[in-house]
């Protein structure tokens, strides 16, 4: 009768099995939390959003197409303008001087403070009658009817974009500052010795070094901007006359009107915009990691 003998490979596979088991046990709480907090809500939302009638009603709503247009314009202007300004400012803040560091602390404040009071304070300041801006115009120049900052559709939309940029600019500027700080100073010194102008230094050293970070940050910013509810809702409520909604606020408008299905549908229609961005961002990050 043969006696079973354990071999080294059995011991290894047993060890591996134990490690896998422990790994699974340790991972279980995270999987559970992920399933409950991410998979379930998303799946439930998609399930609610499966109602074809909701999409018919959504496309029949006259403000929907305008909202899609607004969202695209908002994304295009807000993200590009924000990053153009952030790129310029990062060049300023990267300078290592005490007073610039102090200014940087002040500059970060809009990003650091909570959205609701700050955006509402903009709303108060821009009120056409009682707001500080038009009141000063009245006091200083006798202008009775100042600009309709929040009542003229174009101005109100511009103000929403302005508030969005004001709020998120510090964060992206800091990201680009850290990117610039990672560039070896030797390169600039060498370029300077060779007589390169500031623009040439930017074009041949800064930009190639920051390009990956810039593009990845832009895509991430697009995803966040697409979901930015506060800047539009708190400032104008999507108004005047529902003319300035973006997809993030349109969903809330439907839900406020007890129309959950339409609210979900209006968010799901943003998926064709979000998913390619997420895909390209992940692909780009993978490439950068290689």
């Amino acid at each position: 009768m043969a006696v079973p003998v354990s071999t080294p490979s059995d011991a290894v596979s047993g060890h591996t099995r134990d490690r896998a088991l422990w790994g699974a046990i340790m991972l279980a709480p995270y999987v559970l939390v992920f399933a409950v907090m991410v998979v379930y809500p998303v799946a439930y939302g998609l399930w609610i959003g499966l109602n074809w009638n909701s999409y018919r009603a959504l496309f029949a709503d006259p403000i929907f197409l305008r909202t899609v247009f607004n969202t695209i314009v908002f994304l295009f202007i807000a993200v590009n303008l924000k990053f153009a300004i952030a790129m310029v400012l990062s060049g300023f803040f990267v300078a290592q001087r005490a007073w610039i560091r102090f200014v940087l602390v002040l500059f970060i404040l809009p990003w650091a403070v909570p959205s609701i009071p700050t955006i509402l304070s903009f709303r108060v300041m821009l009120n056409p009658e009682t707001g500080m801006v038009n009141s000063q115009l009245f006091q200083w120049f006798g202008i009775v009817e100042g600009p309709g900052w929040l009542t003229d559709p174009t101005l109100a939309f511009a103000c929403s974009i302005m508030v969005h940029i004001w709020k998120s600019l510090p964060f992206w500027t800091l990201i680009l500052v850290t990117g610039r700080l990672a560039i070896a100073q030797d390169l600039y010194e060498a370029a300077s010795v060779d007589g390169a102008s500031k623009w040439q230094q930017f074009k041949f050293i800064t930009w190639p070094s920051l390009a990956t970070l810039y593009v990845t940050s832009t895509m991430l910013s697009m995803i966040w901007t697409l979901g930015d509810f506060n800047s539009v809702y708190l400032l104008t409520g999507g108004g005047p006359g529902d003319l300035n909604h973006v997809l993030a606020t349109l969903g809330i408008r439907y839900m406020r009107n007890n129309n959950l299905d339409l609210g979900i549908a209006s968010i799901i229609v943003a998926m064709p915009l979000i998913l390619p961005m997420v895909y390209f961002m992940v692909k780009r990050l993978s490439k950068a990691a290689e």
Binding site: E145, G237, G239
Partner: protein, 460 residues
């Protein structure tokens, strides 16, 4: 080991005994959700009813009070989840949910409670509770008419005088009335170097004030939107023409610059705030909450004597409540009234007792203090309630006007005849049409065509 066994056995007996006695003394309970009142008197009156009901029946009332918006949002969620309270009374149910719930069979038929009360309930208030149920294919009473609201005009008499006019100067006719405020009062105040607007004219799409005000203008021009069977008749030439005039008239106030530009974004409290700040000289508002704020202030011990005195002066001398001017055709304007409804939910756990609670609440001695606790903000739905000295003694200048206005008769909202108009109002197609004219500069005719098309999409 033995002691452990004894302890476990003892604990088990204790648990069984506690459970048994708990079951033996378990009190019957009903769950009731109400909108929290603006004033202490409303809540005190409600608590008194609850207390009396509990003593009379031995049934415990689990009462929750919610803010106006939370009340309806929470109710909608609970109904969708199949876990509603037994009784609900939110002051925006009528605008948003009652008709829909009745149509979908989510409400208990309360005809057996309403029928005996019918002789005392005002007919116009009763109309708002006789609702269609799609499951039974019949109309029945699915709600209790608890209180009502109506549209009024409120103005600062002292601002009118500052502009150089007396109350007797205010015209009675429709066009002359708005011209007076826009051209004369505002011009008078501006001549004194003040940046003041004559009219507070709600135009925000998210405000119920806007559709209430706009539909009052539509009534003034005789624009019929639906018939009594709920069929849309706005596209009939006469109604369409009247609606075009209503849109023109409503938009005109903004176009000539006599309402604050920010009124295009106003929410419900904003005209109240602008009035209290004296940014505007007059406004139209559903309920007399603007004046009542000063009545509440003058009795508020938390304020200084000086503030209370000023509030009293405002309430009795400086602020006036009036009715709308006569219609453009010279006839009196019918008053659009909204009936605030309480309901018993079909999925409630103890709906039988819930119905009993509402029957108890609807008794004159219980309902009247509750309605009157709102300082005149809400109107009674019963003839006996309206006959009380609170409304008839004429001592209160604001309530006296409301009584006069109310006694002239009211008309209901369209959603009473076609519940889908709650969605039309929620989307505020009316404000959108006005905004199309003032913001996008389209012709009123086109704005009304779009309005009709959208109404047919939603409610046709």
């Amino acid at each position: 080991m033995k002691s452990v066994r004894c302890l476990v056995t003892g604990a088990a007996f204790a648990a069984i005994a506690a459970g048994w006695s708990g079951a033996a003394v378990a009190q019957e309970t009903i769950t009731v959700w109400f909108t929290k009142g603006f004033y202490k008197g409303e809540d005190d009156a409600l608590l008194a009813v609850v207390d009396k009901f509990q003593k009379a029946t031995g049934v415990k009332v689990d009462l929750s009070l919610y803010s106006t918006e939370d009340c309806v949002t929470k109710s909608v969620g609970a109904v969708e989840a199949g876990t509603p309270p037994d009784v609900g009374f939110c002051t925006t149910y009528d605008f948003r949910t009652t008709g829909k719930w009745a149509f979908e069979g989510k409400l208990e038929d309360v005809s057996d409670v309403i029928e005996p009360l019918k002789t005392d309930i005002m007919p116009d208030a009763l109309v708002g509770t006789l609702l269609m149920n799609d499951k039974t294919k019949k109309k029945a009473y699915y709600a209790f008419p608890v209180q009502q609201q109506m549209m009024h005009i409120t103005y600062w008499k002292d601002m009118l005088e500052e502009a150089g006019f007396k109350e007797s100067d205010i015209p009675k006719g429709w066009n002359g009335y708005w011209d007076f405020w826009c051209d004369k009062v505002q011009a008078g105040l501006r001549a004194k170097g003040k940046r003041i607007y004559a009219v507070g004219h709600p135009m925000g799409v998210a405000a119920s004030d806007t559709f209430y005000s706009f539909l009052t203008f539509a009534n003034a021009y005789g624009a019929q939107v639906v018939d009594e069977n709920g069929k849309i008749i706005l596209d009939q030439p006469a109604n369409k023409a009247a609606m075009i005039e209503a849109v023109k008239s409503y938009a005109n106030i903004l176009q000539r610059g006599c309402t604050p530009p920010s009124s295009v974004n106003w929410l419900d409290p904003d005209n109240n705030v602008a009035f209290h700040n004296k940014t505007i000289a007059m406004t139209h508002n559903a309920t007399i909450s603007i004046a009542s704020k000063h009545l509440d202030d003058m009795n508020n011990p938390a304020l200084t004597q000086e503030q209370r005195d000023q509030a009293k002066k405002n309430y009795f001398d400086n602020i006036r409540t009036t009715q709308f001017p006569d219609k453009p055709d010279g006839k009196p304007l019918p008053n659009l009234a909204a009936v605030k409804t309480a309901v018993v939910f079909a999925d409630g756990k103890n709906k039988k007792r819930g119905k009993e609670f509402m029957a108890f609440m609807m008794k004159d001695e219980n309902l009247r203090p509750f309605v009157e606790g709102s300082l005149g903000r809400w109107l009674p739905t019963t003839k006996s309630g309206l006959a009380s000295p609170f409304w008839t003694d004429g001592k209160d200048p604001h309530r006296a006007l409301v009584y006069k206005q109310f006694s002239a008769g009211t008309i209901p909202f369209q959603f009473v005849y076609n519940y889908k108009f709650t969605a039309v109002n929620a989307e505020n197609v009316w404000a959108k049409a006005v905004n199309r004219v003032v913001q996008d500069k389209v012709a009123p005719e086109l704005a009304v065509d779009e309005m009709i098309a959208r109404i047919k999409q939603i409610a046709g």
